[in-house]
């Protein structure tokens, strides 16, 4: 009994998502069969394309790097009770700002340029999502809708600057900003074909996790998220925490954009808007908003994304197949929230005496 009580939270935290993933796989198998493919073959290819070889591992990790950060962009504000879904726009602006910083710092030693790019990207992303937090706290604008609107505006700004004022005349087919220069590119991790961005993401996640789990800072943030009124009575300035958490999340997404420019694209262009922000929402929800769990989940989702190309080449399935799989996983994961605290016992919302619509924000 004692043992069950101690381990039940862990069993729930790991068991429910794993169970949900299995159910999602089954549903996807049904979908695959319905469109006339063999589920076994698809799953085998998914595995092969994601984790089957050193090459596919590299592909997976390359995609996991931004996903860790965009996952944190959702998971960190969630600690303060916010559902932020605008990571894509913060990523786009982070990329744009990084490119601007690089051109401003041209000629400086590469380390300075790189640091400047990453810092500028993180700052800009932080301000963008921080604005959603500010609007929620001080103007009563729902942060979910607000951050998504800001996201579309951010992407429009990127497109405007890349195709207009900041366009490099030499980039004909693919409008881009001026290249940051090969010397300023962030290199690969030793012995791998994966850039340092992965390491930055992992460090960001671990530091966040440690802060949240072991410091009063984390405790205060959770108090704000759990019960703002109690937090206020305990003397916490709720507004600062809300905006701060949104800023930190946005900084993660902005950093992801800066890394895409500094390590992959070499300039800001529309290619950085590749859906990482949206997949990050899924990553954070599977990880149940735990910054540590974001790392393995990002690798898993990165793997699914990486395997998409293989499905397309081998089975001639549309590249959106992985989006369908992600969508199914997402729906099942959210629905599985109902199992929390009641493993194996699904009940419908009790409608009296207190209606339960407001509870369980995430």
């Amino acid at each position: 009994m004692e043992l069950t009580r101690r381990f039940l939270p862990l069993v729930e935290a790991v068991g429910i998502p794993v169970m949900a993933l299995l159910v999602a796989m089954l549903l996807f198998a049904g979908f695959v069969a319905a469109v006339g493919q063999s589920p076994l073959e698809v799953f085998a290819l998914l595995y092969k394309g994601a984790f089957g070889s050193a090459f596919s591992w590299q592909n997976t990790l390359l995609r996991a790097a931004p996903l860790i950060l965009t996952g944190l962009a959702v998971a960190i504000p969630a600690q303060a009770g916010m559902v932020i879904i605008g990571g894509e726009g913060a990523l786009a602006l982070g990329a744009l700002t990084a490119a601007v910083a690089a051109s401003a710092l041209q000629g400086a030693p590469p380390h300075w340029v790189q640091t400047g790019m990453l810092a500028a990207g993180a700052l800009c992303g932080g301000l963008w999502i921080g604005l959603s937090g500010w609007l929620r706290q001080y103007r009563g604008v729902n942060e979910t809708i607000g951050s998504l609107l800001l996201s579309y505006i951010g992407i429009a700004l990127l497109n405007f600057f890349v195709e207009g004022p900041l366009k490099d005349p030499a980039s004909l087919n693919k409008p881009s900003t001026a290249p940051i220069g090969d010397a300023n590119m962030i290199g690969n991790l030793p012995g791998m074909d994966v850039h340092y961005g992965l390491l930055f993401g992992v460090i960001f996640a671990l530091v966040t996790w440690v802060i949240l789990k072991f410091t009063t800072l984390g405790f205060a943030l959770k108090t704000v998220g759990g019960n703002p009124r109690a937090a206020q009575m305990a003397g916490l300035r709720v507004g600062y925490w809300i905006v701060g958490a949104a800023f930190a999340g946005g900084a993660a997404a902005g950093l992801a954009g800066a890394i895409e420019v500094a390590a992959v694209q070499g300039a800001a262009n529309a290619s950085v808007v590749a859906g990482y922000g949206y997949a990050g929402i899924l990553v954070a929800f599977i990880a149940r908003q735990n910054p540590f769990a974001v790392i393995p989940v990002a690798v898993l989702i990165g793997g699914i994304n990486a395997a998409g190309g293989m499905l397309q080449r081998r089975l001639d399935m549309p590249d959106a197949s992985v989006l369908v799989l992600q969508g199914i996983i997402f729906v099942v994961i959210i629905a599985s929230e109902t199992l929390n605290g009641r493993l194996g016992l699904i009940k419908f919302k009790s409608l009296s005496p207190v209606s339960a619509t407001i509870s369980s924000k995430t």
């Binding site: 729902n142 809708i145 998504l148 609107l149 369908v324 992600q326 629905a335 929230e337």
Partner: protein, 310 residues
């Protein structure tokens, strides 16, 4: 795109007027549907995904059957199915309607991209408009007054809902369920079935809105078709204070903002194209900021709505 030459700068307001009607139709249909859903105390952020699924299904069905109106019906049915999914999942304990909405947004988008892959090339039969400009000899005015029946249906629906919410038993029950589940239970109303039905109807209308996108304006199937219009429509309902008639005016306003970019482009002003295209998002956010308040609940908000914090 509307030919504006010949009218000079007068072409701009005319183009914006025509564009407003055109662009506002999906906003109108989606927001009226969401209005019904939110009146019942639920919110469906997944309408963004429903819109794109409706566009895909409508286009595909129109292509397969040769009838655009069958496409519209199919789009509505697909939307209703997604609405049903949302409604059922939200009825589970501890499941948050905003999170389910986000997941259905991504699911619908992914599914629409997958199933819509073969639809990018072929040309499906389009919905036809009613030419209200027959009295004028100017081709610009004639083309500006080409009005799609779905817009007129939307207006009729807005008026109908306005009276239904106020004066019918059905509207009363819906409002009670949305304002207080406890009161509804005390009155013996069936809360969950009402909410599920409201979400299904909302999904149906959003699906039809999607069919308008692919079958009339801009009138083809591609992956960037909905680009946030479902979310804007959800925000629009807040701005309209859950009043169907105000949804109509708000839709026209947002439609006008959305028509700004294309209208200026038709005039040959192409710089800043992306900025003008961001106009509806900026307008939505601006209105949310202007009407929001940190301290009080919005007037007219259904009491059970998780979106509007107390």
């Amino acid at each position: 795109m509307i030919a504006t030459d010949g009218l000079g700068w007068w072409g701009v307001p005319l183009a914006i007027f025509a564009g407003a009607i055109r662009v506002s139709t999906p906003y109108l249909l989606v927001s009226l549907g969401e209005c019904i859903t939110e009146k019942s105390g639920r919110i469906n952020l997944g309408l963004e995904g429903v819109l794109i699924m409706g566009a895909m299904a409508g286009y595909g069905t129109s292509l397969a059957t040769g009838s655009a109106w069958t496409g519209v019906l199919a789009a509505g049915l697909v939307g209703a199915v997604l609405g049903l999914l949302h409604g059922l999942l939200c009825s589970l304990r501890r499941v948050n309607d905003i999170a389910i909405g986000i997941s259905i947004m991504l699911f619908g988008t992914g599914l629409a991209f997958f199933l819509g892959k073969p639809l990018v090339q072929p040309q499906a039969p389009m919905l036809s408009a009613i030419p209200f400009g027959f009295w004028s000899s100017s081709p610009q005015i004639q083309s500006a007054l080409q009005i799609n029946p779905l817009f007129l249906i939307g207006i009729a629906l807005a008026v109908l809902l306005h009276f239904a919410f106020r004066y019918t038993r059905w509207g009363m029950q819906l409002r009670i369920v949305g304002d207080s589940a406890d009161a509804a239970l005390a009155l013996g109303l069936r809360v969950l079935p009402t909410r599920i039905l409201a979400t299904v109807i909302g999904g149906f209308l959003a699906g039809v809105g999607g069919a308008f996108l692919s079958l009339y304006y801009p009138g083809s199937w591609n992956e960037g078709l909905s680009s946030g219009q479902g979310i804007i429509a959800v925000a629009l309902v807040i701005f309209a204070r859950w009043e169907p008639l105000r949804c109509l005016w708000a839709s026209l306003l947002f439609g006008g903002a959305g028509a700004l970019g294309p209208a200026l482009q038709a005039m040959g002003i192409t710089s800043g194209y992306y900025l003008f295209n961001a106009a509806p998002y900026v307008l939505t956010l601006g209105i949310l900021i202007a009407t929001g308040s940190p301290s009080r609940t919005l007037a007219g908000a259904p009491g059970e709505l998780s979106l509007v914090r107390n």
